[in-house]
């Protein structure tokens, strides 16, 4: 089941403490930039996997347990947002 970054807007707001779908990310692998709203999101994995829409590299992984959250953003080289 593939969704887009809008679908994890709530989860990202919870993790980062601000609205994130407008944040522009740069893919570490291919350099593509775009709003987090338009990334590919897979929810059926054990956790959430976020992939680049251009090259399909993994941008971000989010795994939650009742007590802890693991957030891997190794695939994102940069995020730009309104100050």
């Amino acid at each position: 089941m593939m969704l887009d970054g809008n679908a994890i807007g709530g989860m990202m707001l919870e993790l980062f403490g601000r609205e994130m779908t407008m944040v522009v990310s740069t893919c570490r692998s291919c350099g593509a930039t775009g709003p987090l709203a338009s990334v590919d999101v897979y929810m059926k994995a054990p956790g959430v996997v976020v992939r680049c829409r251009t090259c399909e590299s993994v941008l971000m992984k989010i795994v939650r347990s009742p007590k802890r959250v693991w957030l891997d953003i190794d695939g994102i080289r940069m995020m730009q947002m309104e100050a």
């Binding site: 089941m1 809008n6 919870e14 779908t21 338009s38």
Partner: protein
């Protein structure tokens, strides 16, 4: 305390169901009264959480159908193998409580003071956040020209059918064009095929008008429409998309 501070920005709350309306055999609109609702923007969504007796939880996102000026409404399509939508469409009753948090999203949002003409493209239940935009336009008495191109399988699947007919008949700046891809009733005057580049050329504003564009529907639908618009000369950065309709449960 730290956790409390973070959650304070987006808190789960129990909203009471105050109404329910069947839109189509598979689609229902639920009216909700969350006790602490900060107000929303047209195009935003909420997260809904269901908890089973054994503690298993399922979370899904649903678009807000109502204008910011109206009571909170979600329109939900039943996906037969879904974990959440069958409950929302078939079981949930007025008086029940529903766990939700929101409003969420800043990207797929239309503001009534945006001066650009608006082109809305919907596939199936992708019409829901776009309806919030049309309703917001009406509630704010905005004169911004809007065009909606809406694709459904059959006439019975058209969500907000009567309201869209009224909006189109009012001729006050919202043009509604529909296509029925699977079957058409006798005398149907709309399109009868999937949205393609020719249809987009006929219905969309020319790219030189620099419209705001919102496309919502299933992934393949959104992809096809976006590619078609880019082929017509649209800047991909001006095409805002939400891919979810028909999946997610």
């Amino acid at each position: 305390m730290e956790g409390t501070a973070v959650l304070g920005r987006l808190t789960w709350q129990v909203a009471q169901v105050t109404g329910a309306k069947q839109e189509t055999p598979r689609v229902r609109t639920i009216t909700l009264a969350p006790p602490g609702w900060p107000g929303h923007r047209a195009g935003q969504h909420v997260d809904v959480c269901l908890t089973a007796e054994d503690g298993y939880q399922a979370e899904r996102s649903y678009s807000i159908a109502s204008a910011p000026e109206q009571a909170l409404e979600l329109t939900v399509e039943r996906l037969d193998d879904g974990e959440v939508s069958p409950y929302l469409v078939d079981e949930l009753q007025p008086g029940d409580g529903l766990d939700l948090r929101g409003p969420i999203g800043g990207y797929f949002v239309w503001e009534a003071d945006d001066p650009r003409p608006v082109f809305l493209v919907a596939g199936g239940s992708g019409v829901v956040p776009l309806m919030a935009m049309i309703r917001h336009r009406s509630a704010t008495r905005s004169t911004t020209p809007m065009r909606l191109l809406y694709s459904s399988r059959t006439i019975e699947d058209v969500i907000y059918r009567a309201e869209l007919d009224d909006v189109a008949a009012a001729r006050n700046g919202v043009e509604v064009t529909q296509t029925l891809t699977r079957a058409q009733p006798e005398g149907w005057t709309g399109y009868a095929r999937r949205i393609d580049p020719d249809m987009l050329r006929e219905v969309a504003w020319p790219p030189t008008e620099k419209p705001a564009v919102y496309v919502c529907g299933a992934t393949l639908f959104v992809q096809a429409v976006t590619e078609g618009l880019v082929g017509l000369g649209y800047d991909p950065l001006t095409v805002r998309t939400e891919r979810y309709g028909g999946i997610g449960g």
